[in-house]
Amino acid sequence: MEFFKYTRTFNFMGSAKPAIFLSSLLFLASLALLVTKGLNYGVDFAGGTVVQVQYDTEAPIQAMREKLKGNVLFNGATISEFGSPDEVVIRMKSTTGSVTTDIGDVTREALKGTGNYKVRRVDIVGPTVGAELKEKGIMSLLLATFGILIYVAFRFEWRFAVASIVALVHDVTIALGAITLIGLDVNLDVLAALLTLLGYSLNDTIIVFDRIREGVTKGKNLELQEIINESITRTLARTTLTSLTTFFVVFTLFMFGGEIIHAFAFTLLIGIIVGTYSSVFVASPILLWFGFDVKNYHVRLASKAKRETEKQRMRDQYESGVM
């Protein structure tokens, strides 16, 4: 089976302008969402408590609210369904410091009389730990981006590195925008998904860039736009296939992975779509607009090769004792 035949080259860069327009629109919309609505930090980063309760029958959310009303600890607590009508999570901002009787125990006691229930999960993250996790999370995103930037700059060229980072920022921002839009809690798992997205989206970009590099160094074509179009076309089958297989597995994870893995899978799902799109329509046009000069690159490559052979010649002479 074949999706794409290599008989003709698609003119991707011809539609670069509308693509960049669309990207900018999505990017700005995401930024606007992030600024106005803001990320909904979960307990991992904001600190607080999550108690997951499972009932034998449908959870009596109204009765639970009544029961929690009395205690200041539960001020601003929200109760929402979790995966099924029988199961709910109670989220609250407060935490407690006692090891023996914590806010989870208080909640369990407070719910007495609402039916037959089981507390299945208690997450308590104190404010200092939350702040620390947040700091570490931001650091890890920056560090990963920086590490990747260095690597790509080293393996390719600085313009490639900058173009791929722009694509990464684009992907992460839009993924964050989508998370904000549907109001997902941002916890450690979402951070892990974002970091995976960094790696994944970069994968796609690098495969395309690798072809462009190959076209630039080995090909005779001097027109960068044509090299890019040719490279994207040649890698299109791979891009589509890998995106599809990854999409399949993330989709099954999203559908059947259970409520706990939901935010993670959702972030990746968006990330795969945006990441695939950006490697073709964001990273490559930027490379083009940076005015990467193929001719100049050839000249530099040639002089570098010349220097190498010169050096080698000198060394050979020296070793054979001519000098």
Binding site: K136, R155, T242
Partner: protein, 521 residues
């Protein structure tokens, strides 16, 4: 068909993968297995803080107690012995005895002693305070570990995190009651103090405030069984649990559980001295600030053993004995983070992630077969080998499999075939260009190599950062991703290359590119 070094290495890798993943897959008795994370098997994860300033306080209190004992033993009259969080002060009534005291106080580690008009004040040096705080954390870790080792759960984790935090992980907690018990055992101060009841003033205890009591150097403590009953006791204890050598559960004559304890030689001596001097008075057995009993002293008690009686259940008495035996916490601990997952939720998570894994796996396998035919089959063999090797490596290292870790495996399935997709596309391209099968395969692999390496290394960079900065379950994700990527280099690049080389002649002869690579021609 011919053998080549690649196929040999690949075969060895598969054997390695299958053999070492068996203990985990079949859950055999012997052999190294993958440990399930707390989120999958259920359990308790806690990050505890230590109130280290309390350790300094209790250090000063015990210095005060030793000063008092020294004075009494040597018949030196002192007055106004008091202490606060900074230090101890007292007056030596006979100036001739000052030298004796100086000698004694010199022995106290890290103490800064000053004397003015026979009033001696003692504070702790800055280094000593830091040292005391550090020791309090180490001691808390040691103590909690000792207690949990005797609790009966398999492999509790107790580790220092950062400067002053303690990580406690208890896997396999089955019930709410068990979790409660474990938490009580961990946090129990288990601070045993033997204190003298202030018989001169005890009658007035109900009309006294804490401030009144402090004026006499006393404190008011409540009875453990009935908090309505109060005792007025001397604030500086006769001795504390630091001098305890053993504690065990026993029964009294009515067959009610109680705790027997033994003191070391020094403690026994102090205890003997005190009881000998205080016949007719009462001795309060104080545990964690509550009076458990206050028996009358009928005679001098030598030998240094005693009992704590309370309304214990057998379980409580057992746990308390464990806590006393493993020593008191020098400083109280508090909860900074807690994650507790019930075993039923863990089981649900395992089921859900297995469904996702199998579902994703089947989709990918079928897709590759349909699209690439035999090339797809070869990629699938590599993928299955990859999963075995991943599991084998994790088992050998005793790595922990968490829910995000499961997601990492699912993701590996999707991404590991990537290398084969890149290679197959390159081979197809070269065949279209009319190259021979041999050339197409060799050049296909050569051309694909740089892209695969670059892509994998960047993903590895992200995984390593995730491992370094991630906590708990997230680390599990970084581990499975990293091992999956590394294993895919072995299986998807080297392994499949070996298979192609082995089949090369067959492929050339058959001339059926549709069967082998899923393309016309």
């Amino acid at each position: 068909m011919k053998l080549n070094y690649r196929i040999v290495i690949f075969a060895l890798a598969i054997v390695f993968g299958v053999v070492f993943s068996m203990p985990s897959l079949l859950q055999t008795q012997d052999g190294k297995k993958v440990t399930l994370g707390l989120d999958l098997q259920g359990g308790l994860h806690m990050l505890l803080g230590v109130k280290t300033e309390e350790a300094t306080k209790s250090r000063i209190k015990s210095i005060a107690a030793s000063i008092k004992h020294f004075a009494e033993r040597n018949d030196i009259l002192i007055d106004g012995l008091s202490f606060d969080e900074n230090g101890v002060a007292f007056e030596v009534l006979d100036s001739d005895e000052l030298a004796k005291f100086d000698e004694f106080l010199k022995e106290v580690d890290g103490a800064i002693v000053s004397e003015n008009n026979q009033i001696i004040s003692l504070t702790l040096s800055e280094e000593e305070i830091i040292k005391t705080k550090k020791e309090a954390v180490s001691q808390a870790i040691e103590t909690i570990r000792n207690r949990l080792d005797q609790f009966g759960l398999s492999e509790p984790v107790v580790a220092r995190q950062g400067e002053e935090k303690i990580l406690v992980q208890l896997a396999g907690i089955k019930t709410q009651e068990e979790e409660q018990r474990a938490r009580e055992l961990i946090s129990r101060a288990a601070k045993l103090e033997l204190m003298a009841v202030d018989e001169d003033r005890n009658a007035r205890v109900y009309s006294m405030s804490d401030a009144d009591a402090a004026e006499y150097g006393d404190i008011i403590l409540a009875d453990a069984k009935n908090p309505e009953i109060k005792y007025l006791v001397r604030e500086i204890p006769i001795l504390d649990g630091g001098m305890l050598t053993d504690a065990s559960m026993g029964f009294d004559q009515n067959n009610r559980p109680l705790i027997n304890f033994k003191l070391n030689a020094e403690g026994a001596e102090i205890f003997g001295d005190f009881t000998g001097r205080s016949v007719g008075k009462r001795l309060a057995v104080v545990l964690d600030g509550k009076v458990y009993s206050a028996p009358n002293i009928n005679e001098r008690i030598g030998g240094g053993s005693g009992q704590i009686s309370g309304n214990y259940t057998v379980m409580e008495a057992k746990d308390l004995a464990i806590a006393l035996r493993s020593g008191a916490l020098l400083a109280p601990i508090y909860l900074m983070e807690k994650r507790s997952v019930g075993p039923s939720l863990g089981a649900d998570s395992i089921r859900a992630s297995l469904v996702a894994l199998i579902g994703g796996f089947v989709l990918v396998i079928v897709f590759m077969l349909v699209y690439y035919r035999t090339a797809g089959l070869i990629a699938n063999i590599a993928l299955i080998a990859n999963l075995f090797i991943l599991l084998a490596v994790m088992s050998l290292f005793g790595a922990t499999l968490t829910l995000p870790g499961m997601a990492g495996i699912v993701l590996t399935v999707g991404m590991a075939v990537d290398a084969n997709v890149i290679i197959s596309e390159r081979i197809r391209e070269l065949i279209y260009q009319g190259k021979s099968i041999h050339k197409s395969i060799e050049e296909g692999y050569a051309n694909a190599m740089s892209a695969i390496l670059d892509a994998n290394i960047t993903t590895l960079i992200a995984s390593v950062v995730l491992y370094a900065y991630g906590t708990g379950a997230i680390k599990g994700f970084a581990i499975t991703m990293s091992i999956g990527i590394l294993a895919s280099m072995l299986t998807a690049i080297l392994g499949t290359h070996g298979i192609y080389q082995m089949l090369e002649n067959k492929i050339t002869k058959s001339k059926n590119n549709r069967f082998w690579f899923g393309i016309k021609g």
